[in-house]
Symmetry: C2
Subunit: 145 residues, 2 copies
Amino acid sequence: MKVLSQTSKYGIRALLYVVSHPGTGQFVSIGEIAKELNLSFHFLTKIFRELTNKGILHSYRGPAGGIALAKPADQIKLVDIVLALEGDDYFDNCLLGFPGCGVEKPCPVHNFWKGIRSEIKSHLLNTSLAQLGEKIVAEEVRLYD
Amino acid sequence: MKVLSQTSKYGIRALLYVVSHPGTGQFVSIGEIAKELNLSFHFLTKIFRELTNKGILHSYRGPAGGIALAKPADQIKLVDIVLALEGDDYFDNCLLGFPGCGVEKPCPVHNFWKGIRSEIKSHLLNTSLAQLGEKIVAEEVRLYD
DNA sequence: CATATTTAAGAGTATTAATTCTTAATTAAT
DNA sequence: ATTAATTAAGAATTAATACTCTTAAATATG
């Protein structure tokens, strides 16, 4: 069940690293994150570029540069990251692939899937980077392979 | 949100066609299904081959041949089709892609995702082709684009 | 100004999923 | 037997995703 692309998975993991490792400077370098999480530096750079373009991150070039959250961590929700990286129509899917599946022309599993989708969406909408970062710091959950 | 592969989507739709169109003969030809549902004949043949190999369908070659359900439609559940086509580890995924995510080493969203996965699985486990076929025949839901 | 450090941009490559194509095998009817 | 209708098998192609590489631009420091 591949619900998120690698791009989204890496993006979320990388931002969770950022919120759970408050460094000394204003920016965290992509190289550090890639090394710590064992992700491809170039791939991560591309992902962060997208998040920067979408206004979720700020970036700064040069020595001591890197990326930083554009907003406080409790104001960035998982849904923001997912929509930025997967596209705004991420939650508009039909489980069986029917175009324009909806109340007027429902597919055979429309009602079921509508409920699941809505649960997922509302959970991602209610989960902030700050919340998950706290759980990581408290070592209740893991961030590394 | 791509939860099912095209293979699974087409497979389910095709079997729903079968249960909602009781033909005169014992077997339904793949050509008819492909034509009616506007799916690629060759692709559908490949999908059915897999379902036949997994024991969900029977097939018969030659004139008036085709495929037929190997069991009564109320005994074939959506989960059977999905597991046959996506693999038995379909429900073992971690939303964030951590290997071996589980209670011992949970990822930051493990509990949430575990719940969703279990809801999806139990619904697919409790939904038979017969049930959905009835809704299609009653025209409560659609089977065509 | 020269150099080192860092992100930006996007071209290029590799891997996987989706689809198409070709040939063979099976069966029924004539 | 021959032909037509069908599925079986798997190679070949195309498309999408994932990842890598190269070059450019920005910035800090000596």
